[in-house]
């Protein structure tokens, strides 16, 4: 008997401890010295950092070919910002410090090393870049790179097509996924301030204020976790016990604050991956970052119900980057220079525009189909499953009436069902669910319109030949158009590109 006894108190304590442990480990970081990490990798030792984290982020020391001493400082500031101000539930940030420049022993380039570590560790998002002293100022280029896995799983969209068009879906993945997020110019003397800020952020203070004394410091190769937040301050605990308060926002001001926009942009992508919420691009980001933000928003709006909404939020946003009305010069809201050349992401925006037009055409066809009475035999065949036997029996009885025209309107169906005592919930489920699906699957877009879309996409693919999404969408269109030769060609190029991909 005793063996089967479970103490409820112990269970509660265990659950509480579990929750506590998870919350402690849900946001953690580490500053890693790269030479050691690379040596391990050379020896074939692969040790992923924070394997428990839902989102694993790497920030690499910026390339610093002229020894400004800012490579580590910038990476540190960005890494801490991503970690301390992140709004996702579980994140691990690895800040790789120094050791990325080619050496006599290892002539691999900066990118080779960055790429090697990203591949080995499988980070979802990586930040890297370069700092270059110019005549009177510093030029800081920052990149945000989404892993291919993240792009496929979290930054891809589908627009389902009706069965009457052969089914399938049009697809889009976020492009580019290696984003030049910022080119920041700062006065040269800012270098000292940036280095000091980086050092100050490492200091853990007794209380959440810059005036409080520093009691401990974040050291390399020591895991630290977030314990508490207070406005822009966070209480950090080092593995081993010491803890204290630090803040990026309170200590990184002026030009440094502009730099933070890169980390916030990357955090915004994480937030989107988790909750589907996206930050607006901010003033000191690049045109590419703005394009990424607008592309995500455009793709998110594809499945809106209202045609005007799709036109404005999806097509409208895509056409800011392609076509005769491409927006150029400073952006209306952020003042980011949109440039005038090809849009970032190759022909991605043409693909978005075609998907938006298709979505609008489908909505139009659907609305037309719903407005007209539907033939009862089709409803009976496609919608009357065992789930709706009562409702269908009522409708069948109604259609046996000699005055029945053979067609039913949805409002009419609802009236008949309500009068027969069917529950409104069931009627709603029938009309909005199965019936809507059946109507959708019965609609189609005019073939000439699809031919026009396919032609536009085919031209776009000539301009961006490695864009696999465009080719997949072309295959879907050509299948509908029964253009067997072009369908097979598109499919065959897709296969060829898949083979080429690493």
């Amino acid at each position: 008997m005793m063996a089967n006894y479970r103490c409820p108190f112990r269970t509660i304590v265990a659950a509480f401890a579990c929750t506590l442990m998870f919350s402690v480990w849900a946001i953690a970081g580490i500053d890693v010295r790269l030479p050691q990490e690379l040596n391990l990798l050379e020896q074939g030792v692969s040790k992923p950092h924070f394997p428990w984290a839902k989102y694993r982020v790497a920030v690499f020391s910026f390339e610093d070919p002229h020894g400004t001493g800012l490579g580590d400082a910038i990476a540190n500031i960005l890494a801490k910002r991503m970690l301390f101000d992140s709004t996702v539930s579980s994140i691990g940030v690895v800040n790789f410090q120094s050791g990325l420049s080619p050496t006599k022993e290892d002539s691999s380039s900066y990118f080779d090393k960055v790429e090697k570590l990203i591949q080995d560790q499988g980070f979802l998002i990586s930040l890297w870049g370069r700092v270059l002293p110019l005549e009177n100022e510093l030029s800081i280029d920052a990149f945000v790179q989404l892993s291919d896995e993240a792009t496929v799983k979290r930054f891809s969209w589908r627009l389902e097509l009706p069965e009457a068009m052969g089914g399938g879906a049009l697809v889009a993945r976020l492009r580019p996924n290696r984003i030049r997020a910022q080119n920041l110019r700062t006065p040269k003397d800012e270098a000292v301030r940036l280095r000091n800020t980086s050092r100050n952020i490492q200091g853990l203070r007794r209380s959440p204020t810059v005036a409080a004394p520093i009691e401990a410091s974040i050291r390399p190769d020591t895991v630290y976790v977030l314990k508490e937040r207070q406005n822009s301050w966070v209480r950090v605990q080092l593995k081993g016990g010491a803890s204290g308060w630090t803040s990026v926002g309170a200590q990184c001001l002026n030009y440094c604050a502009r730099l933070l926009e890169v980390a916030d942009f990357a955090s915004g992508l994480l937030k989107y991956a988790e909750r589907g919420e996206l930050n607006d691009a901010t003033d000191y980001l690049s045109a590419e970052a703005l394009a990424v933000e607008e592309q995500i928003k455009a793709l998110d709006s594809l499945n809106l119900r209202n045609i005007e909404d799709i036109q404005k939020r999806s097509l409208g946003r895509a056409l800011r980057w392609v076509g005769p009305d491409r927006w150029t010069g400073p952006d209306k809201w952020t003042k980011i220079d949109r440039g005038s050349g090809p849009a970032p992401g190759g022909s991605a925006f043409t693909n978005v525009a075609i998907m938006a037009r298709t979505a609008m055409a489908l909505q139009k066809a659907y609305k037309r189909a719903v407005a007209h009475p539907l033939p009862w035999p089709i409803i009976r065949k496609r919608v009357c499953t065992s789930n709706f036997s009562n409702l269908c029996r009522v409708l069948e009885r109604f259609t046996n009436n000699s005055t029945f025209s053979g067609h039913l309107r949805t409002e009419e169906m609802a009236d008949v069902a309500i009068n027969a005592g069917i529950r409104p919930k069931e009627i709603q489920k029938f009309i909005r669910g199965e019936l809507a699906k059946a109507i959708f699957n019965s609609i189609s877009i005019n073939r000439d319109t699809v031919t026009q879309y396919a032609t536009e996409l085919a031209r776009a693919s000539l301009h961006d030949p490695n864009n696999i999404d465009i080719l997949k969408n072309l295959a879907v269109f050509f299948r509908f158009l029964e253009d067997r030769r072009r369908y097979q060609l598109a499919e065959s190029i897709v296969e060829e590109l898949k083979r080429k991909q690493p």
Binding site: P65, E115, R178, S340, A458, R459, D464, R486, L489, P502
Partner: protein, 323 residues
């Protein structure tokens, strides 16, 4: 009128028959000779100047064994007699040229029934002092000598330019996810010093590079003016493409930063290299990157892109765009 041919006409007929016999005999002899004896002949030239290389040793090897050799004459010409059996029909030999002052070079020689398929083999030799600048074929952009102002030195400028190009252009190309095996490499070769600015293309070809960048530094009013010249290996440009950075502090790293026009010019040459290597998609992508850097298109970008697009299988997807 007579049915008997005149003597003169008979003589003409005999001559005609005899003529045909002679030609047939000659062809027969030649055909027999070709199976038994033939020549591997050609010319060895200086890779940069195009002058003949005298006294180069040329050997023909089969499976690592030397089967013939020759020394080039004053015209750089060589000929190696061959005596290969006609079977197997297709064989691959190696022609190797070497000279004390040059980097040795080898090319494959294909034979058909014992006879080389090419009538003349033209090999180029690169001076030994440039051996370090010779990388993998068709993959790089070389930054050559930057001529300093008289009596002054330009510290390490070619390396700095190569590094700057590497970052500026590779990050752009990597956005297109170009396969790392085909990404261009940017290398400094300070010893590559063309005698004339018009020789840049030759240097690019000799160093097996897409493009060759050289330049000069001149004293400006306050600081230095750095002029760069970009030549390509494919004769795309009429002459070297110039750009000039005024008032440059040579101790400042920004001296190594090239302007967008230089970047775009280099990328167009790289794109052409991709086209020659049948990497048409990479060619198109590179021209798009060049256009992005310039913020606009140029006739050269349009021409190279159109040429590559025409060879893409994707053209068959456009209605009316071919089969």
């Amino acid at each position: 009128m007579t049915l008997v041919p005149s003597f003169c006409n008979l003589l003409k007929l005999c001559r005609g028959i005899a003529g045909h016999i002679v030609v047939a005999l000659a062809l027969f002899t030649q055909a027999t000779l070709a199976a038994a004896d033939s020549l591997a002949a050609g010319k060895i030239l200086h890779a940069i100047s195009g002058n003949p290389v005298i006294g180069a040793s040329v050997t023909l090897q089969k499976s690592g064994q030397t089967i013939g050799s020759a020394i080039t004459d004053t015209g750089g010409v060589f000929s190696i007699p061959l005596n290969l059996p006609p079977s197997p029909r297709h064989q691959t030999l190696t022609l190797r040229a070497a000279h004390g002052n040059f980097v040795p070079v080898s090319v494959p020689v294909q034979t058909d029934r014992g006879t080389p398929t090419e009538t003349i083999y033209k090999l180029t030799l690169l001076p030994k002092e440039l051996a370090g600048c010779l990388g993998e074929t068709g993959k790089k952009v070389v930054v050559g000598h930057i001529r300093p102002p008289l009596g002054e030195t330009v510290a390490d400028l070619p390396s700095r330019i190569a590094e700057a190009l590497q970052f500026d252009l590779l990050t752009r190309l990597q956005e297109k996810h170009l396969n790392s095996e085909v990404q261009p490499i940017f290398e400094a070769c300070a010893g590559a010093e063309p005698k004339s600015i018009m020789h840049g293309g030759q240097w690019a070809r000799a160093l097996k590079a897409h493009a060759f960048l050289s330049g000069s530094v001149n004293r400006g009013q306050s600081d230095f003016d750095v002029s760069t010249l970009v030549s390509d290996a494919y004769d795309l440009f009429d002459g070297p493409q110039r750009s000039k950075n005024h008032a440059v502090d040579l101790n400042d790293p920004s001296a190594a930063q090239m302007d967008p026009k230089t970047h775009a010019t280099i990328l167009v040459a790289v794109a052409k290299g991709y086209e020659n290597a049948r990497l048409y998609a990479e060619c198109v992508d590179t021209t798009v990157v060049a256009e992005g850097i310039l913020g606009a298109s140029s006739p050269m970008i349009i021409a190279v892109r159109a040429s590559c697009q025409a060879k893409l299988r994707h053209t068959g997807l456009v209605p009316g765009g071919g089969q």
